[in-house]
Amino acid sequence: LLLGTLDMLILRTLVMGPAHGHTIAHVIEHTSEDFLQIEQGSLYPALHRLESRGWVASSWGVSENNRRARFYKLTVAGRRQLTAETNRWQLMVEAIGRVLSRAGKPREVED
C-alpha cells in the first residue's frame, strides 16, 4: 500500500456509514477486488491517529455477529479532509498519467 493512502481509504470506507475495524479492513480488501492487501496490524494505529486528529469519532456497539466492537464514523472535519485528499489524489494520478503517456510516445522530430 502506498504511504499515506491508508488514511484516505479508511475515510472513504466510512462515507458509506459507521463501521468497526474488522469491517473496514475487509471492505477495503473486497472493494479493491483483493488487489489491496492491507496489513491489519497497521489499521489500528491509523485509526487511533485519525481519531486523535478529530477526523473520525468512535463508540462501542454491537456488531452483526452479536459481538462487541468499536464503531467508527466520519466527522464533519473528516469529510472535509477526505474531499481534500481525494482531490489531491486525483490531480496527482492525472499528472503522473500524463507524464507516463508522454514518455511512452516516440518524440516527434521538429524541423
Binding site: 468497526h20 474488522h22 491489519q40 494505529p45 486523535s52 456488531s63 459481538r67
Partner: protein
C-alpha cells in the same frame, strides 16, 4: 490535544486492547465460517493481524513524546547509576570542575583585558608611537611628525608629573600632563565643562585642569564647575572639565588611572620648545582606513626627512637612527607582556583541561569495562548499540554539566580572588567576571568534552562481543585494543603534564632567582626622603654653593638623629627609575667622543659616604672626599663601565668626558654594580659624580637606620620642616616598600604557578596511577600462569615494569620535546630560563616518572604475590 492523550495513555491502551481482541474475535468467526478448526481459526487470525503487543506499542508511541521521554528515562537512569558509584562521580565532577573552572577563569580575564573594546570613540584607530630605544620624543619632534606625514588625524603627547597635589580631600592624586589635543585625540568626551583651551601653543597653561570622573565623584560631584579648584605645587588650578566615569584611563606608569589632567605648559620643569628634550610619550589617532603598516612606512619617511634637516638631533649610529615604531593603543594599555602571558596562561589551562579529560576518560574506561556485563544484558533485552551509546552520552553529560557548574563557581571565586589580590596589576582586570561570553565559552568547551570523553571511553566497550561478555568469557583476554587505548591515554597524559610541570617550574625558578639575586646594595633598614628645595626658603633663587651646602648640612643634621647609622644623599636612588644620561666618552675609546650619546652611562650625583650608606661595595680606589669638591674633577665608575672602557686594566687614573661637567674628569674609584631600574633589568654602566659639581634642586636622602626605617619618617620630616616650612617632599618610603611592588607581584605569580603546577601534577599522577594499576591487575591471569610455570616474583615485577614502562617513557620523551619547544617560546618572558632549563626539565621528569613507575611496580608485586591458583580461578 496531544498532552491530554499523553496523560490518558493507559486508558487508550486498554481501549485499543479490547478493540484488538474484538477484531480477533471477528476474524475467528469468519475463519470458523470458512470451515477451519478452532485452533487453526485462532492461529490464522493472529497471523493476519500481527503481534497485538506491537500494535499497542505503536499506539503508545503515538500518544507519547518519544524523544523527550527517552531522554528523561536516560537521565533518570543515569542519575541512578551515578548515585550508585559515588566516588567515581565525585572524582569526575571535581576533575572536570578544576579543568573547566581554570580555563573559564582565564577566559573571563582574557575577554575583559584583551577583547573588550576601549571606552573611547573608535578605539581601533588609536596607536602609540615609540621612538627607538627610549620610547619618548620631544614636543617639536611630535609636531613635525604630524606635519610631515599624512596618516594621522592627530598626534598627542603625555607625561607623568608628580607635583604636590592638594584637593579639598587632602593631598595626593595622580597627575598626567598632556598636550592640548590629548583628550580629543584619545576620543574622550568631556562630561561637564569643556576641554582645554586650544591655542596651538603648548607653552600655554592658563591654570586649567580636567579631572577624572572618579576623582570628581570623590570631591562631591555636581554639575557646577565655577569656583571649583585644586592646588598643584601650591599653584591654584581651576577645574575646566570632568571626564565621564566610564572613560577611565587605564594602563601603566603615566596612564595608571590618572585623576588630574593639566596642559604640559603648566609644568615649569618641561621645556616644550626644545627639540632635544625627549620627555613625552606619544599617542596618535590614525585617519580612518589607514593600517599600522602603512602609517609606519609613512612615519619612517617623515622621520628620515627630519634626520636630514637636523642631523645632530636625529643622527647617530646604532639604534638611535632607527625610525619610530607604531603599536596598537590596546597593547600599551594592557602592557606588552600582558597579552603573551595571558595567552600562555590560557594555553596552560587548556593543557590542564586536556589532562582532566584524559583522567575522566580513564575513569570511564575502567568503569565501562566493569559494566560490560550490564551492557550485555541490556543488549540482549533489546537495546540497540545506539541506545546504549545514548545512555552513556547522557551519563557523561550529567557529569560534565555538574562539573561545569562546579567549574563556573570555582572560576567566579578565582576571578574575585585575582581581582582583589592587589599584587596582580593587570590593567582592566576589574572588568572581568563570569559574563555571557564566558558562559557561552564554558558551554562549548563542556560539549566538546562530553563528546570527546564519550568517544574515547566507549570506542571499544560497546562493540566487541557483547554476547561473549554475557557468558562471562573473554573479559580480560580480548581487551587488547581497550588496553591500547588506555596506554595511549597514559602516554599522552604524561607528555602533557611534563610540559605543564616544566613551565610551572620554570616560572617558580625564575622568580626565585630574581628575588634572591644580589641587588648590589643592602635594601634592609634603608629610608628614603626626597626633598625639593626649588623656590623654597632654603633656595629662593638657584645658587650652586647654597644648594650644595644645604644638602651637606642636612646630611649632618640627620646623621645626628638617634637610631640613624649613616646618611647620604643622591639625585636618584637605586631602583628609582628616573636616571639621567649625558654625553660620554673616555680615554679608552677616544674615537667615541665624536658621537658620545650612544654609549652614555646613567649618571648619579651623590654626597660623600653614599656607597657606605647604601652598602654598595667599593672594589678599587677610594670614595669621594671633601678635597674632590675643589680642584680637578673626580668620578667613580661601576664595574660594568670600567670593564667596557678599559677591559682588563685598572680604571683608576683614567679619564672620562661627561656632558654633565662639559669637560674631563679622573676616575678615582670603582664600585660594584646595582640594579638601577628593576629587578629584571641587568645592571648597566653607571657614573658617579660628587654632588658639588652641579647640585640639583632636589635630592633623595638615604638613611641607614638601626631598626624599622618607617618609624623614623615622621621625625625626619618634622625636623626638616622645622628648618624650612615650605620644602616639598617626595619619594617618602623605605627601600623594602619600594621593592615590595615588584616582589609582591612576582611572589604572587610564583605562588599561582606553583599551585597550578602542583594541581596538574596531582591530577595526572592520580590518573596515571589509576590506569596503570588497573592495567596491571588485568594481567592477573597471565601472571598466575607464569608463576605456575616457575617464574619468580622479582622476574614478574621486572617483566611488567619493562613492558608497561615503554608507554610511560614514550610519553615522557614526547613531553620533553614539547617542553623544550614551549620553553624556547617562553624565553622572552621568563627570567633566567636558559640557566634553569636543565634542572627544571630533569626535575619535572623525576616528579612524573617516579610515581608512574611506582604505579606499575606496586600492583605488579601485589599480583605476583597472590596465590597463582586463585589468580587462575578468579578470571
Amino acid at each position: 490535544m496531544r498532552l491530554i492523550r499523553y496523560f490518558r495513555r493507559t486508558h487508550w491502551d486498554e481501549e485499543r486492547t479490547r478493540e484488538i481482541e474484538a477484531h480477533l474475535a471477528h476474524e475467528f468467526d469468519d475463519n470458523m465460517d470458512r470451515g477451519m478448526s478452532p485452533e487453526e481459526a485462532q492461529r490464522r487470525a493472529y497471523v493476519r493481524l500481527g503481534s497485538p503487543t506491537r500494535i499497542r506499542e505503536q499506539i503508545w508511541t503515538i500518544n507519547s513524546f518519544s524523544g523527550i521521554e527517552a531522554a528523561v528515562r536516560d537521565l533518570r537512569h543515569g542519575c541512578r547509576q551515578l548515585a550508585r558509584s559515588r566516588w567515581f562521580t565525585l572524582t569526575s565532577v571535581l576533575t572536570i570542575g578544576l579543568g573547566i573552572g581554570s580555563i573559564a577563569a582565564i577566559f573571563g580575564i582574557l575577554d575583559a583585558v584583551l577583547l573588550e573594546p576601549l571606552p573611547f570613540a573608535q578605539p581601533d584607530r588609536l596607536v602609540a608611537i615609540r621612538t627607538v630605544p627610549n620610547d619618548t620624543a620631544s614636543m617639536p619632534t611630535i609636531q613635525d611628525w604630524q606635519r610631515r606625514s599624512n596618516s594621522f588625524q592627530s598626534i598627542a603627547a603625555f607625561r607623568n608629573w608628580s607635583p604636590e597635589v592638594r584637593t579639598p580631600l587632602g593631598s595626593g592624586g595622580r597627575v598626567i600632563e598632556v598636550s592640548q589635543n590629548f583628550l580629543s585625540t584619545l576620543g574622550a568626551t568631556v562630561e561637564i565643562g569643556h576641554d582645554f583651551v586650544q591655542t596651538g601653543n603648548e607653552r600655554d597653561c592658563f591654570q586649567q585642569a580636567v579631572l577624572s570622573g572618579s576623582l570628581w565623584r570623590q570631591l562631591g560631584g555636581g554639575t557646577d564647575l565655577s569656583g571649583r579648584t585644586i592646588e598643584l605645587d601650591r599653584r591654584t588650578f581651576r577645574v575646566a572639565g570632568v571626564l565621564p566615569i566610564a572613560q577611565t584611563i587605564e594602563g601603566s606608569y603615566a596612564l595608571n588611572h590618572p585623576d588630574i589632567f593639566v596642559p604640559v605648559g603648566c609644568d615649569p620643569n618641561v621645556r616644550v620648545t626644545e627639540r632635544g628634550d625627549s620627555d613625552f610619550l606619544v599617542l596618535g589617532r590614525l585617519h580612518p582606513g589607514i593600517s599600522i603598516v602603512a602609517a609606519t612606512a609613512d612615519l619612517k619617511h617623515a622621520a628620515a626627512t627630519l634626520q636630514k634637516d637636523y642631523p645632530h638631533m636625529y643622527g647617530g649610529t646604532g639604534v638611535y637612527g632607527h625610525p619610530p615604531k607604531i603599536l596598537p593603543w590596546l597593547t600599551v594599555v594592557t602592557g606588552t607582556s600582558t597579552e603573551p602571558s595571558l595567552f600562555a596562561a590560557f594555553g596552560a589551562c587548556g593543557l590542564l583541561l586536556l589532562i582532566a579529560c584524559a583522567n575522566l576518560a580513564n575513569l570511564m574506561l575502567a568503569r565501562n569495562v566493569r559494566r560490560r556485563h550490564e551492557f550485555a544484558v541490556r543488549a540482549t533485552l533489546g537495546a540497540s548499540t545506539r541506545q546504549l551509546l545514548r545512555q552513556l552520552l547522557v551519563e557523561n553529560a550529567i557529569l560534565v554539566i555538574v562539573g561545569s557548574l562546579t567549574g563556573v563557581l570555582l572560576a567566579s571565586g578565582a576571578i574575585r580572588f585575582l581581582r582583589e589580590a592587589r599584587a596582580l596589576r593587570v590593567p582592566r582586570l576589574d572588568h572581568s567576571s563570569i559574563s555571557v561570553p564566558v558562559l557561552f565559552f564554558v558551554v562549548s568547551v563542556a560539549s566538546i568534552v562530553v563528546i570527546f570523553v564519550t568517544l574515547l571511553s566507549t570506542r571499544r566497550t560497546l562493540h566487541s562481543g557483547l554476547l561473549r561478555d554475557l557468558a562471562g568469557h573473554g573479559r580480560s583476554s580480548d581487551s587488547g585494543s581497550l588496553r591500547r587505548t588506555g596506554r595511549i591515554l597514559v602516554a599522552a597524559q604524561i607528555a602533557v603534564s611534563t610540559v605543564i610541570v616544566a613551565c610551572a617550574s620554570w616560572t617558580v625558578a625564575s622568580v626565585y632567582t630574581l628575588l634572591h639575586q644580589p641587588l648590589g646594595f643592602n635594601p634592609d633598614n634603608l629610608l628614603m626622603v626626597g626633598v625639593d628645595i626649588q623656590h623654597s626658603s632654603a633656595l629662593p633663587a638657584y645658587n650652586a654653593v647654597q644648594a650644595a651646602s644645604f644638602y651637606r648640612a642636612t646630611v649632618d643634621t640627620l646623621g645626628r638623629l638617634p637610631g640613624i647609622n649613616s646618611v647620604a644623599a643622591t639625585k636618584t636612588p637605586p631602583l628609582g627609575f628616573a636616571v639621567n644620561q649625558y654625553d660620554f666618552c673616555s680615554d679608552g675609546h677616544i674615537d667615541q667622543c665624536a658621537n658620545p650619546t650612544v654609549i652614555a652611562p646613567d649618571s648619579y650625583d651623590i654626597t660623600n659616604g653614599y656607597f657606605a650608606t647604601v652598602g654598595q661595595p667599593l672594589l678599587e680606589g677610594r670614595d669621594f672626599t671633601d678635597a674632590d669638591n675643589a680642584g680637578a674633577p673626580a668620578v667613580i665608575v661601576n664595574q660594568v663601565l670600567a670593564q667596557r672602557e678599559w677591559p682588563g686594566k685598572s680604571a683608576i687614573g683614567h679619564r672620562i668626558r661627561t656632558g654633565e661637567l662639559n669637560g674631563w674628569a679622573t676616575v678615582v674609584g670603582v664600585v660594584g654594580n646595582v640594579h638601577s631600574y628593576s629587578l629584571e633589568t641587568a645592571p648597566g654602566p653607571d657614573l658617579y659624580l660628587p654632588l658639588t659639581y652641579a647640585p640639583p634642586t632636589h635630592m633623595v636622602f638615604l638613611l641607614r637606620t638601626v631598626d624599622d626605617p618607617g618609624a623614623h619618617l615622621e621625625t625626619v620630616r618634622r625636623l626638616l620642616q622645622s628648618q624650612h616650612g615650605d620644602l616639598l617632599f617626595f619619594h617618602l618610603r623605605t627601600m623594602r616598600q619600594e621593592m615590595s611592588n615588584e616582589v609582591e607581584l612576582r611572589t604572587f605569580l610564583m605562588q599561582v604557578a606553583a599551585v597550578f603546577g602542583a594541581l596538574s601534577l596531582a591530577l595526572s599522577i592520580l590518573g596515571v596511577y589509576g590506569l596503570l594499576a588497573y592495567e596491571v591487575s588485568l594481567r592477573r591471569k597471565e601472571v598466575g600462569i607464569r608463576i605456575a610455570l616457575g617464574s619468580s616474583q622479582w622476574e614478574i615485577v621486572q617483566l611488567v615494569l619493562r613492558q608497561e614502562s615503554r608507554w610511560v617513557i614514550g610519553g615522557a620523551v614526547l613531553g620533553l620535546i614539547a617542553a623544550m619547544v614551549s620553553g624556547y617560546s617562553l624565553q622572552a618572558q621568563v627570567y633566567g630560563l636558559r640557566e634553569n632549563s636543565l634542572t627544571v626539565l630533569g626535575g619535572s621528569l623525576v616528579l612524573l616518572m617516579v610515581p608512574a613507575l611506582i604505579a606499575i611496580a606496586v600492583p605488579a608485586r601485589q599480583v605476583a604475590q597472590s596465590d597463582p591458583m586463585q589468580a587462575l580461578r578468579t578470571d
